[in-house]
Amino acid sequence: MHVGATGQPGLGAFLTEHWSAAMAAAVLVALIGFGAATIDGFWSPLNLRSNLVFASFLGIATIGQTLCALIGGLDLSIPFVLGAANVGLVKLINQGVPSGFGIVIVLALAGLIGAFNGAVSHRLRGQSLVVTLGVGNAVLGLVQILVSSGGVSGISGGTIEGKIPQWIERFSSFKQSIGIAPAVILWAALIVLTVLLLRRTWFGRSLYALGGNPIAAERVLISSRWSWTLVFGASGVTAALTGILLLGYTGSGYAGVGDPYLFTTIAAVLIGGTSLVGGRGGYGLSVLGVLILTVLQTILSGFSLSQAAQEAILGALIIPTIALYARSPHPRLLI
């Protein structure tokens, strides 16, 4: 914990301790001000509601990435698992599986895939990046092969049509009579749950211990293997959940639907101020990162920039935040 320069509690000490959060919040406020000043209809209820829905998709997928970053890993399989869940659920529904049961199957499989990611990454001394890259490609390739082997209702160009039950579509729709999409309410509930998990439970605290100093964590009997397995399993589940919500939003399955989430989940984690080296940060910060990215995307779209240009700009913006939050100590300090 950082202590203010004077050691006395006060605004300065508070800002020193929470300076990532303060900075992220300041950036968010500035972006909202800029957007409101330059984009017509920024405050329109429709725009706010649709932005919240987009934020909830990214926010739920970022839960997993945040947990992985806290223990010093990265999950690159999120876009692939997300896309696989998206087309896989359509296929299951087309096969006559009840939609609720189909969702349970998809979430369970995604959890198992994630757990495999975590277990293998741990076995390979934390090489989660390459493991998740390989597993993700294998899973999405396999799911597309399986989905397309069904004759007429097959996949073509990565898309699959099907009769999506109305309740799934309504879940992600922001044109509701209550004014807010159920997906946003689900995200709000998950925010509370995740923050409580990280701050108030033994498991949550053990993740910080593991990310901060794995050797010390093992000495106090925190199982690094179990933590990695559970955390990556959770990441698989949140990725699949996002894929299902996106299915409700778009109304048809598309294997490439997750592509933007490879980058945006990592960006949200970094912009919020969670260290990629592990042990520092939290999901509350990632929520700020998600909101910043969502507002930024609204502004960039408002200037009618193409998807590719947005990708390039966001990529360039991430490098300064890396310099703030992803640095390792100099070897001189480690001897």
């Binding site: 010093g72 990265l74 293998v120 741990h122 076995r123 390979l124 001394r125 934390g126 090489q127 990046l129 390459v130 493991v131 890259l133 390989g134 597993v135 993700g136 490609n137 294998a138 999405l140 390739g141 396999l142 597309q144 092969i145 397309s148 082997s149 073509s156 901060g212 100093n213 794995p214 050797i215 010390a216 093992e218 690094s224 980058f263 990592i266 970094l270 990629l276 080296v277 193409s306 590719a308 240009a309 990708e311 390039a312 700009i313 966001l314 990529g315 360039a316 991430i318 490098i319 890396i322 310099a323 992803a326 640095r327 390792s328 100590p329 070897p331 001189r332 300090l333 480690l334 001897i335």
Partner: protein, 342 residues
């Protein structure tokens, strides 16, 4: 322990990283002989050389970064090759510089510039290679599509001619061979030993007086040279500029690197292993193309590449004898610089 072993055993132990790629190579050759004998005709071999050349060089390009460790995976290689490809076809050739010398010098200079920029960020800011190269991946991938929304342009005639795969004994074979000779020469220098030492344990390297920042940037310079050559081969293969075709080289090259026995912890990687790994990846896609998967072909390639990557990681971990427990000790040895506390 050394000294009382028979030389053959010791040689095998030293080369054990090559066991996986060699066995895989043999198995794939047998499958090819059975299911795709076209490979062994002179046309088939010529096609294999041009098909595999960009990947072989791309894998050689990310090998020094892996050597420099820790966790030195260069994810930017695919979009970087594409970026150079677009710059050569749309930027350099229209200016009138379309001779082999100009194209190679320009491509290598651009590759070195990109890699040095990344290497400087990584070395000076002490940020993980993965994060920097991922950010650069996104910047370049987006930029490529902004510059050139649709495939277009034509490669210089001599280069397109190389890509037409008319015979086995062509420049397209000599260039990768020359690159491999260059690699072999480089790998015998003191500088390269410093890179290996730094990758294996940066603290030991630091106290031994290895200048960490120049050494790391130097590793990226070598990476940039090979990335530039890889991009020229890639331009020859596709014969034009294409904003998206190159991005998949990232997954293929990383897979080839891992199959080739490189330790992602740093300090251990062989040029020969990387070359064999790249040829293996090309053979896998060749073998898959001999089956009649129709529209599913690309899904099969994606599945097979991912699955082989995971399989190589798991078996590679067993072959090179990672400890089953306590990988944190590996972390402490310098994979990710550990904190004081022991």
């Amino acid at each position: 322990m050394p000294g009382n072993e028979r030389p053959a055993v010791r040689v095998l132990a030293e080369q054990r990283a090559l066991v996986t790629p060699v066995i895989l190579f043999g198995v794939l050759l047998i499958i090819s002989a059975w299911h795709g004998p076209h490979l062994f005709t002179s046309d088939g071999l010529a096609g294999a050389v041009i098909g595999a050349a960009p990947l072989v060089l791309a894998t050689l390009a990310i090998t020094p970064v892996a050597l420099a460790g820790p966790a030195g995976v260069d994810l930017s290689i695919g979009p970087a090759m594409t970026f150079i490809n677009i710059a050569v076809v749309l930027g350099l050739a229209p200016l009138g510089f379309s001779g082999p010398a100009a194209v190679f010098v320009f491509a290598i200079a651009l590759g070195v510039a990109l890699e040095v920029a990344m290497g400087t960020l990584i070395a000076v800011l002490r940020v993980s290679t993965v994060v920097v190269t991922l950010a650069v991946y996104l910047v370049l991938d987006g930029l490529n599509t902004v510059i050139l929304p649709q495939p277009g342009g034509t490669a210089p005639a001599w280069l397109a001619n190389w890509g037409s795969a008319s015979s086995v004994l062509s420049p397209i074979l000599y260039v990768p061979l020359a690159a491999f000779v260059l690699w072999t020469l480089l790998s015998r220098t003191t500088f390269f030993r410093n890179v290996r030492l730094m990758g294996a344990n940066d603290r030991t390297a630091f106290v031994s007086g290895v200048p960490l920042i120049p050494t790391r940037i130097g590793a990226h310079v070598i990476a940039g040279v090979f990335a530039g050559i890889a991009s020229v081969m890639f331009t020859g293969l596709i014969g034009s500029a294409d904003p998206t075709a190159g991005a998949s080289y990232t997954l293929s090259a990383v897979t080839a690197l891992v199959i080739g026995g490189a330790s992602l912890g740093g300090g251990r990687a062989k040029g020969l292993g990387s070359v064999l790994g790249a040829i293996d990846i090309w053979l896998i896609s060749y073998v898959l193309s001999t089956f009649n998967f129709g529209l599913n072909a690309s899904y099969w390639v994606q599945f097979a590449t991912g699955a082989v990557l995971v399989a190589a990681l798991v078996t590679g971990g067993i072959v090179t004898g990672l400890p089953a427990r306590g990988w944190w000790r590996g972390r402490q040895r310098g994979m990710v610089p550990a904190r004081p506390g022991r």
